[in-house]
Amino acid sequence: MVKVGVLGLQGAVREHIRSIEASGAEGIVVKKVEQLSELDGLILPGGESTTMRRLIDRYGFMEPLREFGGQGKPMFGTCAGLIMLAKDIVGYDEPHIGLMDITVERNSFGRQKESFEADLAVKGAADCYTAVFIRAPHIVSVGENTEVLAEYEGRIVAARDRHYLGCSFHPELTDDHRLTEYFVHMAEQAKLAHV
């Protein structure tokens, strides 16, 4: 069984853990840098990206997270987590962790009253998937080797770049675990490749 961590500094941590467990992996709440070494994959959850960034800096997570990705270990960013993973953020000079070859824009669907849920197809994971968008970002453009996995009304909302997976919406807020299963599978394959 692979071990998948959820960065537990702030946000929807418990929901991701439940989804990881439902997908047949062991879920671990990560609050300290030392915990990263035991993981096969890491989810950066939804929450407030500004807050999460401050806490990542304060607890010295930035370099260890980049090293984690550099070792080929899969990372999955949802909503705020997607912003953390992106190489470019519209309107900002510097990215956060900056590992995934995509450009994202924050709050691009509007404020909370414009938040919504909609059904869409996620390539390789689900033909019909209910996606919950909350003050969500979207992916403005993707790099050459990044695959677009889902779009909503012409905007990219899920993508994969090598061992990095990201989506604008919140898979952890529904009981549909197919996208988490997709990520757990990525973690399993990465582990096999390393053994």
Partner: protein, 293 residues
Amino acid sequence: MNTGTDRVKRGMAEMQKGGVIMDVINAEQAKIAEEAGAVAVMALERVPSDIRAAGGVARMADPRIVEEVMKAVSIPVMAKARIGHIVEARVLEAMGVDYIDESEVLTPADEEFHLLKSEFTVPFVCGCRDLGEAARRIGEGASMLRTKGEPGTGNIVEAVRHIRKVNAQVRKIVHMNDDELMTEAKLLGAPFEVLKEIKREGRLPVVNFAAGGVATPADAALMMELGADGVFVGSGIFKSDNPEKFAKAIVEATTHYQDYELIGELSKELGTAMKGIEISSLAPEQRMQDRGW
């Protein structure tokens, strides 16, 4: 595409978990809060301790202040409407506020009925002292709860009472037999359907933050220890000697609420916390927590 669904409204509060929501009265304070790592700010005309001192009728903030705060930060902005004041709530919703607090800190506009929050697209947070109140607010459509505590006192004792009460009552519901639920609903004055949901899920269906009296990093950590999902800090931050330092310390203590060495470190030389009020010295009409029904 559906907006304003329960999942979208409750989900927004889920994203705030483990975080601190700070009361601010202008753009400058909002930026300090954001910089310190707040997950949201509550835009107000006056913080609760000043509302308490000023007396008179406390109403929704001047929309210009709310607008100024919304422009200043990229984190979500909340604002307070009076209990039962449909129009204040609709105005805040129209302005694009991210969350409305139907709050006992303001003078109630209706002494019988709360807002029917399920009718709104914007989500609501409401205060509660026990499970009956919590379940009634959920029944009306609240997407987030918080303890009432006793706002603007800097005294944590009431918030502690409220979170312990609600959590003890939730535990009782979860372990009850199905055939006992209806009588419990009657005794609590709680909607039966909400109690069934609590029993099924094993917890409240929405997040429950601490509010009303948090004055120090240790207070914030205490409320997390007692099972709060996050913390609202009202007068505590900007009524302290060093708001920047105070705000950061409260955020950190909330994240690492069981790291006592750390809380000790960051509590050092914080300066004087807000003065605080002993609850028994409040006259009955000064108790904000008794507002709401």
